[in-house]
């Protein structure tokens, strides 16, 4: 086991950092609120130039054939830079396409994704339903090549920008995964009303592909969170070291510095779990439970780091004009994407009695 990044990964992170810097200011510098930013195609295309969306897809499908340790390095830079792009989304959608679609569709979509011409986005969550990978409210009917979907998926971030949606729907044969081409969504709500769709898989094949895709997307989310936490801690320690009150630096108050130390401890534990999860994601089959555990580790760290970073900045910490609140906003969203603490704990709890302890070696 070796956690040190390769030279290529360091170079990739550096290249992504450069791309993001050249792209310019995130929302905080424009004084915008912390609301999720919509799709920034110019930014996405510059990441396409840097090869980021292509990293994990096989070369024969038009990708680069690198791995999750690589894409994680890129995601961490996105988190640090406070820029939002549909990277984790394309990993989830792309992974379902990679494991379930026909050769022709797979090459077309993963190739298009790698070149920046296709944007497949997953449409999974159902409104007013607690997170579950199993669809309930969107139902599919049909057979063979003729399927239609009915129901509402929401929220679907990047839905309006998607060229394709990968949609989960309930079928008579269990969960179905479907592909909808050229979807129409004015906002984060995808209303399906007899919408025609292509069936990718049904039943057990669908369930295991969803579980794997969510694990892979989850790794990218963890990596992005680590970057955001890195930056939140950096800003906080800088602030403690420069802000003076009562004629002394805030850094002279141990009640604050010890809490910065706690933030660091949580962050490093989250980093270990994330790097490990990225290595796990490069194996097949993916041990999805290890990724769920990593997401729980990141959840705890993200809550602490996000909240404490704001608190130690005082009033300026809650403004849209300072980056720290934007980082916390993003961390809050990441930890509710495709699962949250409740759903992750509940899922792992169903298998708790299956093992004596959690082993990471071997």
């Amino acid at each position: 086991m070796d956690f040190s990044p390769t030279d290529e990964q360091q170079a990739l992170a550096e290249a992504v950092r450069g791309t993001l810097r050249r792209h310019g200011s995130p929302a905080a510098e424009r004084g915008e609120s912390g609301a999720p930013s919509g799709h920034d195609d110019a930014l996405w295309q510059s990441l396409v130039q840097a090869g980021v969306p292509a990293l994990v897809w096989a070369e024969e499908d038009g990708g680069i054939g690198a791995g999750f340790t690589d894409v994680s390095a890129a995601a961490t830079e996105l988190g640090r830079a406070r820029l939002q792009v549909p990277l984790a989304e394309t990993i989830v959608a792309g992974s379902l396409i990679a494991s379930l679609a026909s050769d022709a569709v797979r090459r077309e979509l993963l190739g298009g994704l790698s070149e920046g011409t296709a944007l497949p986005i997953p449409a999974l969550a159902e409104p007013l339903r607690a997170w579950s990978p199993q669809p309930t409210d969107v139902v599919a009917s049909g057979s063979g090549d003729a399927w239609t979907l009915t129901g509402t998926k929401a929220p679907v971030p990047y839905g309006p920008d998607a060229t394709h949606l990968v949609v989960t729907a309930a079928t008579d044969g269990g969960t179905g995964v479907f592909l909808v081409t050229a979807p129409e969504a004015a906002n984060a709500e995808v209303v399906l009303d007899g919408t025609s769709a292509t069936l990718l898989a049904q039943g057990e094949a669908a369930d295991s592909a969803i579980s794997e895709a969510l694990a892979l997307g989850g790794v990218v989310l963890c990596a992005e969170a680590v970057g955001a936490m890195d930056e939140a801690l950096r800003l906080t320690t800088d602030y403690l070291d420069t802000r003076t009150q009562f004629g002394r630096k805030l850094a002279s108050f141990q009640t604050l510095t010890h809490r910065a130390a706690d933030m660091y401890a949580q962050l490093e534990i989250a980093r270990s779990a994330t790097l490990y999860a990225a290595m796990v994601a490069d194996e097949r089959p993916v041990d999805a439970d290890h990724v769920l555990r990593a997401r729980l580790v990141v959840d705890r760290a993200a809550r602490l780091v996000g909240q404490e970073a704001i608190q130690m900045h005082g009033g300026i910490g809650v403004t849209a004009e300072h980056p720290v609140s934007h980082l916390t906003a993003r961390l809050t969203a990441i930890t509710r994407t495709w699962g949250d603490r409740r759903s992750q704990q509940a899922e792992l709890a169903t298998r708790l009695a299956d093992h004596r302890s959690v082993e990471v070696l071997g």
Binding site: G31, E32, S33, G34, A35, P36, A125, P127, L128, R129, A130, W131, S132, T136, T152, A154, P155, P157, N187, A188, E189, T244, Q245, F246, G247, F253, T255, L256, R303, Q307, I310, Q311, G314, G315, G317, V318, T319, A320, E321, S325, H326, T328, A329, T332, A333, R336, T337, W338, D340, R341, R342, S343, Q345, A346
Partner: protein, 391 residues
């Protein structure tokens, strides 16, 4: 010790409940309980309505529209008001500048300001904090220099809540830069926000709202009779005010309403064949928060925090400390209950407003442990004044 309310207290509680739920304008309460934003007109209307009923400023002296209530009655008033979703009176008016003018102001200032302060015909904002003077308020640098029968004010305030709507500001200014202690050279003055030389710049908070401002003073001329009390005694008045600010600061009534609403929301979120409220992990968090709230409310009644003879009761610090934390925990649970719906901030046809607002509200309320004396400052007060731990 007595567990029950007396017959009189129960009757009082019923009277408050009847007024707030039956007589007070329903459209204003509806806005609050559905989480919509109140307009400045709504806020003024609410307070003038309460004032007409004698319910806007119960803590003031009776001759200026206050009520001779016990601390328990004040708590009942505040709880019933909050639980009915009545927009509370502007704290700047009702619990800050009003009591200061009533206690330390001249008869002329009282006549001039108190009636219109009670009704919110004058909207006040609080000009205490500055960029360099937050927790260390006594470091403030905005100056007021006496010239004839005027003060000339220069400097900057920040974090001025709702200053964009305010008619007047009460401010702490430095009148004696050479005072031996920095607390000793500070005065408490009243400024007309329309005065020449005042510029207000809104600061956007992370939720996208503009509820705080920077306020700049460039040779603003303030008539000397707008000084409250004595020159260079402003720090004492500010301490009195901050003690008052902590009355009702535990916000138990508000937290109770939030929890009740959140339970309804959790029931709307389906999980399997039931709802999120049936989930043992979510239910356990509700149970814990309800128990913590019970402990806090009982503590409010027990210590009935507030300022006595102008001296803040240090026990009120724990009410601010624990009340603000509890508010934040409830709002964090609201985000968890919204789950995947927390990924958007705009209501959709299929995603209700409460879910779409959960994250911006959660982020905005990180302020609760920062303003009005941060949690760190409150712990410092408890440690030094109650526990006698002075470093």
């Amino acid at each position: 010790m007595q567990r029950r309310l007396s017959a009189d207290e129960s009757a009082f509680q019923q009277r408050m409940r009847d007024y707030f739920t039956q007589e007070f304008p329903a459209h204003l309460r509806e806005k609050v309980t559905s989480g919509r934003k109140l307009t400045p007109e709504d806020i003024r209307l609410s307070q003038s309505t309460l004032a007409a009923a004698g319910l806007a400023t119960p803590g003031w002296p009776t001759e200026w529209g206050g009520q001779d209530w016990t601390p328990l009655q004040k708590h009942i008033w505040n709880s019933e008001l909050q639980s009915a979703g009545v927009p509370p009176p502007l704290p700047f008016n009702a619990s800050m500048v009003g009591p200061v003018i009533a206690t330390f102001g001249s008869e002329e200032l009282k006549q001039r300001f108190l009636p219109r302060t009670a009704t919110a015909e004058i909207w006040w904002c609080q000009g205490f904090s500055e960029p360099g003077a937050g927790s260390d308020l006594a470091a403030l640098r905005t100056t007021a220099v006496r010239e004839g029968d005027e003060y000339v004010v220069n400097g900057q305030k920040t974090w001025t809540t709702l200053g964009q709507h305010a008619d007047w500001m009460f401010a702490l200014v430095r009148t004696d830069p050479d005072a031996p202690k920095k607390q000793a050279g500070i005065s408490f003055i009243l400024l007309d926000m329309k005065s020449e030389g005042i510029t207000v710049r809104p600061i956007r908070t992370i939720d996208g709202d503009t509820e705080v401002n920077e306020v700049f003073f460039d040779n603003v001329r303030v008539p000397a009779d707008q000084l409250v009390g004595e020159e260079n005694r402003g720090w004492d008045y500010a301490k009195f005010l901050l003690g008052n600010e902590r009355v009702g600061v535990a916000n138990t009534g508000l937290i109770k309403r939030w929890l009740a609403e959140l339970k309804e929301h959790a029931q709307q979120v389906r999980l399997g064949d039931g709802s999120l409220l049936d989930d043992p992990a979510i239910a356990a968090r509700f149970v814990d928060l309800e128990s913590q709230l019970m402990g806090l409310e009982l503590t409010v009644v027990r210590v009935s925090g507030g300022s006595e003879n102008g001296r803040p009761n240090p026990a009120s610090s724990i009410l601010k400390l624990c009340g603000s934390q509890l508010q934040q925990e409830v709002l964090e649970l609201a985000v968890d209950i919204s789950g995947p719906m927390a990924l958007i901030w705009d209501e959709l046809e299929s995603v209700p407003g409460w879910a779409a607002r959960s994250v911006p509200t959660y982020l905005n309320y990180r302020k609760a442990t920062i303003y009005g004396g941060s949690s760190e400052v409150q712990r410092g007060i408890v440690a030094a004044t109650i526990l006698g731990l002075k470093g």
